[in-house]
Symmetry: C2
Subunit: 293 residues, 2 copies
């Protein structure tokens, strides 16, 4: 495994005091974060993970926009995206070249009581997920507990923000493993398909590809958006709408989309075999793996 | 403000490799936590905050039991409570004496990929909350988004565990502030009173004191349990049961209970004035501030 690179972002957000440096490199193996930082004690911060294919950013601007949107939902100061962009590119450039690199960037509310957010970029190589893209994944549906309209009725629940409070997103993967599966599709308490814990859902019926509309307390999928742009170029119909779980069962194709894994076809749903749409899967992944926007 | 003390717990859990030391002191001002620790990146860990009044532990055993229960819900290895207890007492002893100290203890799942949880105890002094105990607090009710039975139907949502994924618990305090209030009482999506973001609810009608039953996806309140024991000694009736929001409105007394603030009377609920039960409040706090169990 290659050595990750770590860059702290100093001039990171509006209203945060000016710093002599815009960003600086640090040792990823050392302890860096104070035990009273609110990321540690409260999961109080936001993150994104963007892929770099042979050094080229994949939909980085979409990740940066979503990062700013998460900050807004959490009442964090607006991140200076031009500084973050440069820090991310510098951290990738400082990493030894690999076919796929991931840049995880995080902004926290900082040490409790200081009011000073902190942020960093962590770049790492590794798993290319080629096997999952080819052979597919086994998925179970699990209750997310929230109604599909909760982001509108109760914005303080932070649905639609990519926060550091992801213990549930990890817990559901352990529940999936107990059921012999690899991943999860969340269902709202009132019976709508939402998203995976770290992915978006696309379902195909005939020539139409649908994904759950993002006004249902879910993230706007950066990879799903790239996939829809490509599908439209191919002449397919795409839809953002409410999706019911029964529509997954009789689908002609079902995928979980995420930044570095790209489109993982679902080969098993709640124990039932699903058809893998081989041709679309391979062509979509070829497009996603070379996407820039 | 006094200097906090920090002790890392080395021999912290069942199945974790033996360490030469049981625990050791560290510098709380230094960066200590790796950026890829799952507490930082996923809020994936558990915590407790126990009070020490003039050096005496307040319900420490109840906090330790709840810590072990949270570990079980999160599939973390069972913490060695005897080591944690000694580390907590050592960290308190190493702190300069104050009327009230708080010991926050945390166990995380450790750096991603290592499978090695880490843990520490952080002891700090400060606010004694005397004003809130005397003058009361303004509270708003907010939707928690979950049904009251979600811990039973969907245990993977981790309701009932005290996790580090507390971004929502912080967010609701900002929403309360926007509404001119100090604190929050969560209501389930199906209309049951649950708890505060960092407290338990007790409501009085006549001679009967009720708190929401803990099978509703809420924490077993350590301070609430101490208060109930005292109320029973005084000849009052106590009840663990389902509580409806309308029962708060016509209450003869309403309190939020937590470890160091103890019993904060609610003087205003969703903008309506509430009676402060002065005599009970003062006597209950006198008992809570000297509790050992």
């Amino acid at each position: 495994m290659s050595t990750p690179t770590l860059f702290f972002v100093d001039d990171l957000a509006e209203g945060v005091p000016a710093t002599p440096t815009r960003f600086h490199q640090a040792d990823p193996a050392a302890g860096q974060i104070n035990v009273m930082d609110l990321s540690v004690t409260r999961g109080d911060g936001i993150f994104e993970t963007a892929g770099f294919q042979h050094g080229h950013p994949m939909a980085l601007e979409a990740h940066l926009r979503r990062f700013a949107n998460s900050a807004r939902i959490l009442d964090l100061p607006a991140p200076r995206l031009e500084v973050w962009r440069d820090a991310i590119l510098a951290a990738v450039a400082a990493h030894e070249p690999e076919p796929m690199l991931s840049a995880k960037f995080i902004m926290t509310r900082g040490v409790e009581g200081t009011g000073l957010p902190i942020g960093w970029v962590y770049v790492f190589g590794g798993d290319e997920h080629a096997v999952e893209r080819r052979d597919g994944i086994a998925v179970v549906t699990l209750d997310r507990g929230y109604r599909h309209d909760v982001a509108k009725t109760s914005p303080w629940l932070l649905q639609g923000a990519k926060t550091l409070s992801y213990a549930v997103n990890k817990s559901v993967l352990r529940e999936a493993a107990r059921r012999g599966a690899d991943d999860v599709i969340f269902i709202s308490s009132d019976g709508f398909v939402l998203e995976g814990p770290t992915s978006s859902v696309i379902v195909r019926h005939g020539d139409t590809f649908a994904t759950p509309a993002t006004d249902q307390g879910i993230l706007a999928g950066t990879t799903q958006a790239s996939a829809f742009a490509w599908l439209e170029q191919q002449g397919h119909t795409t839809e953002y709408r409410e999706v019911r779980p029964e529509e997954l069962v009789d689908a002609d194709g079902l995928w979980l989309l995420s930044s570095t894994r790209c489109a993982a076809p679902v080969r098993e749903l709640d124990g039932r075999q699903m058809p893998i749409d081989r041709e679309t899967t391979d062509a979509m992944n070829a497009a996603l793996l070379t996407r820039t926007a």
